[in-house]
């Protein structure tokens, strides 16, 4: 069955999100073989895979929840913890590492009150992750903010970037 209604925006409210989970399942005709694309689509709605929703997907597809969990934990793409509204991915590949990515990481963590274990701010605005290599070594060190690549970063510039987003979000509310 094809989905006729257009996809709701990513920041849809709760009921809309659940509705779209149902629509996703429908779009893939409840086929267990489509588990991975289904989880991808679900993650687009929620920005992570909540346990309850995974259980719902398992029930609807008639696959054991342990299998869904297995798939969700196998691919690093899937997040099992809620992510912040803005995801900061700091590259710590060889080139970026040599060009001082760690001081940037430390500065961002200090500024956002995060550490190795706590990667998301309590207000759910930011998630800070490191990645192995973004493939932009010529521009090192690199920080990705959502879908935008920021090159030749410094600790101060990174902090400024974050502050800018925060101000924008505050004035939007």
């Amino acid at each position: 069955m094809e989905l006729t209604q257009s996809r709701p925006p990513a920041a849809a409210s709760g009921p809309d999100k659940f509705d779209s989970v149902c629509a996703i399942l429908e779009r893939y005709s409840y086929q267990p073989a489509k588990l991975i694309p289904i989880l991808q689509a679900v993650q687009n709605e929620y920005r992570y895979l909540p346990e309850g929703v995974m259980t719902y997907v398992a029930t609807a597809l008639k696959v054991p929840p342990a299998r869904v969990f297995g798939v969700a934990t196998f691919y690093t793409y899937f997040a099992l913890e809620p992510k912040g509204k803005h995801v900061l991915r700091l590259c710590d590949g060889t080139a970026c590492h040599v060009k001082q990515s760690i001081p940037i990481l430390e500065a961002l963590r200090r500024h956002l009150g995060l550490d190795e274990k706590n990667k998301t701010t309590p207000d759910m605005l930011f998630t800070l992750d490191t990645v192995a290599c973004l493939g932009a070594c010529g521009l090192a060190p690199v920080l990705m903010v959502d879908d935008v690549v920021h090159s030749r970063m410094t600790p101060a510039a990174a902090v400024k970037l974050v502050d800018k987003i925060r101000t924008r979000e505050q004035s939007a509310n």
Partner: protein
């Protein structure tokens, strides 16, 4: 004449006779290739890389995943292969918690056995893993992830034989682990406690949970009288713990050993199996006459009962209401023995000795603990009994046989064959056919219901009425049959379900089989035991007749119902969170609406209901007054879809019903 196709194995020609892979062929040539992840009953996984062979012209290959081809030249033990195997084992051992002397699997551990066999004397690698906590949440199984070698045997048994998939691989690389859903504990998920994963696990990562300590304590408490009941399948397997060939019938020596441990009396679960036959066959004949609640499913296997409660709520009325023989024994013993033995009820301790790990769960079900006192206080497996005998230093093989105690130790062959798949059906037939025909049977054996297949059928015509029986073992097979019944396309009258391969003789509490022949030998031995007994039909058991006269009253009567029958309830599969549909946490100030999205309700359209309710809430801008959530299984599956509004549970719910209730709740709120 066509030349026989052969494979040359270490210089010898071995004929190909339908072997599916080189491993089977090599083993046919009496060369025991080492393996971890190969089991003839399961699919091929090819992960452990121990079964390597050198195939000329092709290199080193996994024997389990290579089909034999005529003319192949293979070698099983080159220097290179030996080295690879040893490194593989060393790598496994490096991450394996080395507490072998205290591991219950020690004597049966394949990892230890292979390390010894392959001459691995030291491990050159360092461990990578952080120790993970041991999961002892399940009443039946202990899961120690630190001992797991990731062979996946457990995952495949649970999926392929039991059709459940309660455990699976999660994460990857050095983090890879076998886990229940969402990393929960085994006791909080849909596991039915059959223990087959533990029976297949080559290491101590999954083991039956012992209750030995509690039993020793009771035995050493002078106030307590401790009695035992022994399940049929135990007697033909116990001696395997002491190195005997499988299938030896050791009833007499077993009784002697249990008495030597300090038990006051030793009785037989076959006695209450006889009782089960009479109650269950009577129930069946009544249903058949009235044509209601057919087919009747057997209810003596506790793993099957839990499975049915989780997956087939609509079929629960079809389960026989009979308690299992273990629980019939418990309630009967606690009812009549205190007076007979001169003890208070609370000082009588009933210990069952079972081939089964799921019986540990069954004995803990609250309905089997009237006023909080359990009918069956402890459940030991055959393995645990073996360990107690060893611990006490008894020379089992030299014991003088003793006889079971009366009256609860007297049994017929019908009660004994309960331990085999097909046994319950045969025992019921021995009663029911005689009852229907009104004259004694010429022949007590019903070979039509015997056999090894996982899904068998038999039909009998009695006085012009046909009775069709299905016999299944393995829950994946039970699922096939139950789905047919659910879809209304089955013509069965009686369905016998056993969870373990071959029935109880293949239970996970039995000694770990040394090879595929053990189960067959045990089955044969139980049928022999039946032959050697004086009586073969439950209705001929004089103590059963006496028991009805003195204690129970009428068959299927009021006291019988109280003592011998039970009820079932839907059970949710996972403990877990609800899906919040609105923003933010639930608030007590708002009306709570929970729509069940468990399987049964899902099928009955709870998704639409959810949709309609959330739309209604939005449309009328009630977001601040109402929280709508999807929850998993309200345990009302038979009457779904279920919606809970505030405290009200609405069954067979429609949008109109839900809206009305919601409006009312909102009015009250104001």
């Amino acid at each position: 004449m066509i030349k026989q196709a052969t494979v040359t194995i270490d210089g010898r020609d071995v004929p190909i006779e339908g072997e599916r892979n080189l491993l089977e062929l090599v083993r046919k040539a009496h060369i025991e290739l080492p393996t971890f992840c190969y089991h003839s009953e399961l699919s091929i996984y090819g992960a452990c890389r121990l079964c390597l062979v050198q195939v000329e012209g092709r290199g080193i290959m996994g024997a389990c995943s290579t089909p034999p081809e005529p003319g192949m030249q293979i070698r099983t033990s080159t220097l290179e292969i030996r080295e690879i195997r040893r490194i593989t084992l060393e790598l496994l051992l490096a991450n394996h918690e080395g507490s072998c002397p205290t591991c219950t699997k020690s004597a049966d551990c394949k990892l230890q056995a292979l390390a010894r066999r392959l001459g691995v004397e030291k491990v050159r690698f360092k461990a990578l893993h952080q120790p993970a906590p041991v999961d002892d949440s399940s009443p039946s199984i202990i899961r120690d992830p630190n001992k797991c070698v990731l062979c996946g045997d457990c995952v495949r048994v649970c999926n392929e034989i039991q059709g459940i998939g309660a455990i699976d691989f999660a994460y990857r690389g050095s983090q890879a682990a076998v886990l229940p859903a969402f990393g929960k504990n085994l006791g909080d998920v849909e596991c039915v406690n059959c223990g087959q994963c533990a029976a297949f696990c080559p290491t101590g990562a999954l083991t039956p949970k012992p209750e030995i300590e509690g039993v020793w304590k009771a035995l050493n408490d002078p106030k307590k009288k401790v009695v035992a009941q022994i399940a049929p399948a135990v007697r033909v397997a116990l001696s395997e713990c002491f190195g005997a060939t499988p299938g030896e019938d050791t009833t007499g020596r077993m009784v002697a050993a249990i008495k030597a441990l300090g038990f006051a009396a030793v009785y037989d679960t076959s006695f209450t199996a006889d009782l089960t036959v009479i109650e269950e066959a009577t129930e069946f004949l009544q249903r058949k006459t009235k044509g209601e609640r057919l087919p009747q499913f057997t209810s003596c296997c506790p793993a099957w009962v839990k499975y049915a409660e989780q997956y087939y709520p609509e079929l629960l009325p079809n389960l026989s209401s009979c308690k299992s023989p273990q629980q019939m024994f418990g309630s009967l013993a606690k009812d009549i023995l205190p007076k007979q033995m001169g003890v208070m009820r609370q000082d009588l301790v009933v210990v069952s000795i079972m081939p089964c790990t799921a019986k540990k769960f069954e004995a803990r079900r609250p309905e089997f603990a009237p006023d909080g006192e359990r009918d069956v206080d402890f459940v030991l497996t055959t393995q645990e009994l073996g360990r107690m005998i060893q611990e006490a230093g008894l020379d089992f093989r030299a014991m003088e046989p003793e006889s079971l105690d009366m009256p609860l130790g007297f049994h017929t062959g019908a009660g004994v064959i309960f331990g085999n798949s097909g046994g319950v059906s045969e025992a019921v037939l021995r009663y029911a056919v005689e009852k229907v025909l009104g004259k004694p049977l010429d022949k007590v054996d019903f070979p039509q219901v015997r056999g090894e297949g996982g899904l068998r059928e038999a039909a009998f015509t009695l006085n012009g009425t046909t009775v069709k029986i299905a016999i299944v073992h393995g829950l994946a097979n039970a699922k096939i049959v139950a789905d047919k019944v659910k879809a209304g396309v089955s013509d069965y009258d009686l369905i016998e379900v056993m969870t373990c391969p071959g029935g109880c003789i293949g239970g996970a509490g039995q000694p770990v089989p040394k090879n595929g022949q053990s189960r067959r030998a045990r089955t044969r031995s139980l049928y022999e035991n039946d032959k050697n007994l004086p009586l073969h039909k439950s209705q001929d058991n004089p103590f059963i007749t006496q028991c009805y006269e003195r204690h129970i009253g009428e068959v299927g009567g009021e006291k019988a119902h109280h003592l011998l029958h039970t009820h079932y309830q839907n059970r949710r599969r996972l403990s877990g969170p609800e899906i919040p549909l609105g923003e933010g946490p639930a608030s007590a100030a708002r009306v709570q609406v929970k729509v069940c999205a468990g399987t049964a309700c899902f099928v009955r359209g709870s998704q639409k209901l959810l949709h309609a309710l959330t739309a209604y809430v939005e449309e009328r801008s009630l977001q601040n007054a109402v929280d709508v959530r999807a929850n998993f299984c309200s345990e009302q599956c038979g009457n779904g879809p279920t919606v809970i509004i505030g405290e009200d549970v609405l069954q067979h719910c429609t949008f109109e019903i839900a809206r009305e209730a919601l409006d009312q709740a909102l009015a009250v709120q104001k």
